[in-house]
């Protein structure tokens, strides 16, 4: 997008006008409103542009399970650590290195001599395998936006020594868990624009019909988020529940059918644990049997089965990432936040990733004495 268009998405006067509209809505309502966004990129933008401090009193914007790094469960990390410790070459996205498993992270394994390399594009996994004579394991993580890339790599005549260890997840399944939670206080959802670029906004219609809570698909510039919140709060206060697409430059009703087609040719949805949250029905994306030749779980089943059980590190029991990710607690409600749990020494996954809400709050000084959270 051109520089001038980018600046228009951050136009201060329009931003202030949208803030004023939010304030007027909340003041007229005479009650508070609690909504959830489901994307680390939304939280980053909210923190980076200082939006949270400018939200009107009474508007509570929680971050939901929108950080793929944070919801990757400890056994998934442990499986990858086990393969790394067996001497296999591991490729993964940089965010995953420091996510704690039950005992070790991939970075710990690397410090002890394991070969773990960071890649930035899914295509690099195939390129590196092609230049190698040994098995290469791609620890593939993330929501539908990265899962479609993994799928495309496996549909592109991949080298026979490339094995995918999939921890991919399907984000609409997590929204379902939050909305189905009997004590949820969430009145509306700001859906992640980039994930919806793949799935389309039509996907949320069944969710809205079932839960009678509005969903607004929003982008990641300040005006995207503010206008998305206006549309969401208006619906909440009018007791309406509809899907609204506030990100039309990237999201269509049907999404990217070509990418979705690739995704479900390669993956199928299965149930699985999301770290600290719950068993999420249909939240996991697993390789279909047709791709067993590239499935690390199949190729290295013996190695994974033989991995010794590891004890959970002691301080992890106090970690509140799970309650934070479903919007029940804020980072500052966790005793470890900013004390024992820090970006350089994370206990919980939410402090690891630049998309994790604890890390974002910590880096922007939110929750510190006197700061507005």
């Amino acid at each position: 997008m051109t520089g001038s268009a980018t600046l228009e998405f951050r136009d201060l006067a329009r931003g202030r006008a949208l803030q004023a509209r939010l304030e007027r809505l909340l003041a007229g309502a005479g009650r508070s409103v609690t909504v959830m966004h489901v994307c680390g990129s939304h939280e980053q933008a909210i923190a980076r542009y200082g939006l949270r401090a400018r939200f009107p009193a009474g508007l509570h914007v929680q971050m939901g399970p929108g950080c793929p790094v944070c919801v990757t469960d400890t056994p998934e990390i442990d499986a990858c650590v086990a393969l790394a410790q067996r001497g296999l070459r591991i490729l993964t996205y940089g965010d995953m290195l420091r996510v704690p498993g039950r005992a070790l992270s991939l970075e710990d394994a690397r410090a002890a001599g394991a070969r773990v390399d960071v890649i930035y594009a899914a295509t690099q996994a195939a390129d590196i395998a092609r230049e190698s004579a040994e098995p290469v394991v791609f620890f593939a993580t993330g929501f539908e936006t990265t899962a479609v890339a993994t799928a495309a790599v496996l549909l592109r005549d991949p080298p026979s020594n490339l094995y995918v260890l999939s921890a991919h997840k399907w984000v609409p399944a997590a929204m379902e868990v939050v909305a189905s939670s009997p004590d949820t206080t969430i009145e509306g959802y700001l859906a992640a624009g980039h994930a919806a670029t793949i799935t389309g906004f039509g996907l949320f219609e069944a969710f809205v019909a079932k839960h009678q809570k509005p969903v607004v698909v929003a982008g990641f510039e300040p005006l995207d988020i503010l206008s998305g919140l206006v549309l969401l709060v208006e619906q909440v206060l009018a007791s309406q529940a509809e899907v609204v697409n506030a990100f039309p430059r990237c999201v269509s009703r049907d999404g990217n059918r070509r990418a979705l087609g690739a995704l479900f040719r390669v993956f199928e949805a299965g149930d699985g644990e999301w770290r600290g949250i719950a068993r999420v029905p249909s939240g996991e994306l697993r390789l279909r049997p047709e791709f067993a030749a590239h499935d690390a779980c199949v190729r290295f089943a013996a190695e994974l089965g033989a991995a010794p059980a590891v004890a959970l590190r002691a301080d992890a029991a106090e970690c509140r990432c799970g309650a934070i990710m479903i919007g029940r607690l804020q980072p500052t409600d966790c005793r470890l936040f900013g004390t024992q749990c820090l970006p350089q020494a994370p206990v919980g996954a939410c402090m690891v990733s630049t998309e994790g809400v604890c890390r974002i709050w910590h880096e922007h000084g939110l929750g510190a004495a006197g700061a507005s959270a």
């Binding site: 006008a17 899914a122 890339a149 799928a151 005006l223 430059r249 070509r258």
Partner: protein, 79 residues
């Protein structure tokens, strides 16, 4: 990893494009982009794959949408 980055296509060769991200050039795969793209188009890119062509008319539509959203909020709205 989930960060989507918009960039502009400089060259296309087969299913690969050279894309400019504000001065940084990268190879981007076009296997799963939603519609045909050509030089000059903007695309949204995730982990090396273009996932959406951002049409100029869609940009204009969004800017018009912001304008309509912030209307009637007094003098703070710029020209």
């Amino acid at each position: 990893m989930c960060l989507g980055v918009p960039g502009q296509i400089l060259e296309v060769e087969g299913v690969t494009a050279i894309v400019d991200f504000g001065g940084v050039r990268r190879l981007v795969a076009l296997d799963i982009v939603d519609e045909a793209v050509s030089v000059g188009d903007h695309v949204l890119v995730h982990v090396g794959f273009a996932i959406r062509r951002i049409a100029p008319e869609d940009l204009a539509e969004t800017l018009a949408f912001f304008a309509s959203m912030s209307e009637g909020e007094g003098e703070s709205v710029g020209p």
